[in-house]
């Protein structure tokens, strides 16, 4: 560790991994409910498990991004963090608020929770991904502002690198677009229109800046390639991302009551969105091939390359698959969407967080890299989780194609529930792949406890 205050990143990373585990357990519960419909009913209805699954996902990724920023910014700015105490305080506030929210979902009927937490004052709940009670939403804003204040003050007193600036820009964007979650008009079309300003402009907008910055940081460290070169690539990638992704929001404005010109704007610009993801893959491989040193942390390099490839597959290829309006007309809101959502979130954001953890955690624990034995185990977990996710995606895609065929495309369409019965085999296979994913995750966690010979950190 070059700067003492980087140590605050450690609890953030540990919390991220713990919440990730919770996310997967609830994913498996839902996966089973897909085929054994009354499993855990009425104790944990599907919608409750889904809220827990997706909200834990968002929260663990946020913990990961924050940990990453606390680790990276001191090194980038070459100065200690403005206030490590504030960072630790925010950690506990965020963790407790997150835990209470999940406990609320699981123990109180959602309508009661809404009543208890002030939803009658300002109704924001009950919309996908934004299910959090008003108090939790406000808590998120407070934590985000304190976090951004802390980082911005650090940046002001230190060196201003492009990686640092891009990271901060992405994080500020994340916080600003979240504010649209407080806007919930009665008019359903308006509600949906601005809902996407949170969801799409996050994952296909500002989060890509965060993704690029994290990847660039790790690549500089593990390859030793010149910063000028890497930062130039970073700017090119995020330019491509925003130029395509902002108007690309239109791929969600095809069928929700918005004007039909969006079918053109949305199709054309979102068709360009795979390009920045492709550039990311080329970038990662290029930098590793041109490496000036052989960093002892092989696992982190593997995660960096994997992020490029899987983000391109999940977001780029699986996104393109259903993004043109004539295709989306049939696939909209089917298992095709679920297939894409899974591989994209895993390939881009889960993997980049695991990548920075892989690079930073050994250093936070006082060594340049983990022992060879621990790294081999970590790499096993990489392959187990990643290959499982590929299979989850393939099974859901198969399910989606059959669903579209039976329920939407056929001359004699059958009802939703009847179509679901026809594809239960694919859901069973998805669940099996999910179990392998969980095994991969457990191997990953175990790799932290493997001892062996290590070199002290520089």
């Amino acid at each position: 560790m070059q700067y003492k205050s980087q140590a605050v990143a450690k609890p953030y990373f540990i919390a991220a991994i713990a919440l990730f585990t919770g996310q997967i357990l609830f994913g498996l519960i839902m996966g089973l409910q897909y085929v054994v419909g009354d499993f855990l009913f009425p104790e944990i209805p599907f919608n409750v498990a889904r809220m827990v699954h997706t909200n834990l996902l968002i929260v663990w990724l946020l913990f990961g991004f924050m940990g990453a920023a606390y680790f990276m910014i001191p090194e980038e700015t070459e100065t200690e963090l403005y206030s490590p105490k504030l960072a630790i305080a925010m950690f506990w506030i965020f963790l407790v608020a997150g835990a209470l929210t999940i406990v609320g979902y699981l123990t109180v009927p959602y309508a009661t929770l809404a009543k208890m937490t002030g939803n009658d004052i300002l109704a924001t709940m009950g919309r996908e991904f934004l299910e959090q009670p008003l108090v939790t939403k406000i808590g998120i804003v407070v934590v985000a502002l304190a976090f951004l204040f802390n980082l911005s003050m650090t940046m002001l007193k230190g060196r201003k690198t492009s990686i640092g600036l891009v990271l901060l820009l992405g994080l500020w964007g994340l916080a600003i677009f979240f504010l649209f979650s407080f806007y919930n008009p009665h008019n359903l079309v308006l509600d949906k229109f601005f809902w996407w300003w949170v969801v799409h402009l996050w994952v296909e907008g500002v989060w890509e800046l965060i993704l690029g910055a994290l990847l660039a940081f790790v690549l500089i460290k593990v390859t030793g390639v010149d910063r000028e070169v890497i930062e130039k690539w970073l700017y090119v990638i995020i330019t491509l991302a925003l130029v395509s992704g902002i108007i690309g929001t239109g791929h969600h404005y095809f069928w929700i009551g918005t004007p039909e010109y969006w079918q053109w704007w949305g199709s054309i610009f979102s068709a360009l969105e795979p390009i920045p993801f492709f550039a990311m893959t080329v970038f990662a491989f290029n930098m590793v091939n041109r490496r000036r040193r052989d960093h002892p942390n092989k696992a982190a390099t593997l995660w960096a390359l994997g992020t490029g490839v899987m983000a391109f597959l999940g977001a780029g290829v699986w996104g393109f698959l259903h993004t043109l309006a004539p295709v989306n007309y049939y696939t909209h809101g089917t298992q095709i969407t679920a297939a894409h959502g899974h591989m994209a979130f895993y390939g881009a954001y889960a993997m980049v967080v695991l990548c920075i953890i892989s690079y930073a955690m050994p250093i936070l624990r006082g060594r340049a890299a983990n022992s060879a034995k621990a790294q081999v185990m970590e790499m096993w977990s990489f392959w187990l989780m990643t290959v499982s996710m590929v299979f989850i995606t393939l099974f859901l895609t198969a399910a989606g194609i059959v669903q579209v065929w039976l329920q939407r495309f056929s001359d004699t369409p059958i009802a939703f529930m009847a179509a679901q019965d026809q594809i239960s085999l694919f859901y069973w296979m998805r669940e099996v792949a999910g179990v392998f994913f969980l095994i991969g995750l457990l191997v990953y966690i175990a790799s932290f406890f493997v001892k062996g010979e290590t070199k002290a950190a520089a």
């Binding site: 919608n47 009950g126 492009s162 079309v189 308006l190």
Partner: protein, 141 residues
């Protein structure tokens, strides 16, 4: 990327491009706001519909169902359930839940009053009358 294309050029293109496309997006959004009254069925946003939307939200129906294709994929699309099933069926259905059929996907009972059921149906009727460019492809949703 040759030597003549420098980092500061890349940075300037980033800022310039971003500002341009943000402005274009805002312009399109502004135009959308002007066009929406013709399509979004706002004339029928009655007290009852507004209350129905709130009930829809505080019971997290979107956690199992999709509405105009967005939400969860566990249970039928409800954007067009009004023309598919009609008001009486919908109310009877919601009251009859859960089916308790072994192994079948379950929907909870929310204990709605008659007035609440009417409001939910009003909301589903309003939703079904939004101009969605002919989506979904057929009545099954």
């Amino acid at each position: 990327m040759s030597g003549t294309f420098t980092k500061s050029m890349a940075r300037n293109i980033f800022y310039g491009g971003t500002v341009f496309f943000v402005l274009l997006f805002l312009a399109l959004s502004f135009d959308t706001m002007k066009e929406l009254p013709k399509r979004d069925n706002r004339a029928n946003l009655t007290e009852s519909v507004i209350n129905g939307k709130k009930l829809w939200e505080v019971n997290n129906c979107i956690g199992c169902h999709s509405l105009l294709g967005e939400g969860a994929y566990f249970a039928p699309e409800l954007g067009n359930v009004y023309p598919r099933r009609g008001p009486e069926f919908i109310k009877a259905w919601i009251q009859a839940m859960p089916t308790g059929a072994p192994g079948r996907r379950q929907m909870p009972n929310f204990g709605f009053t008659d007035k609440e059921l009417d409001d939910l149906v009003a909301f589903l009727k309003y939703s079904s009358e939004i101009n969605t460019a002919n989506w979904p492809p057929n009545i099954e949703g």
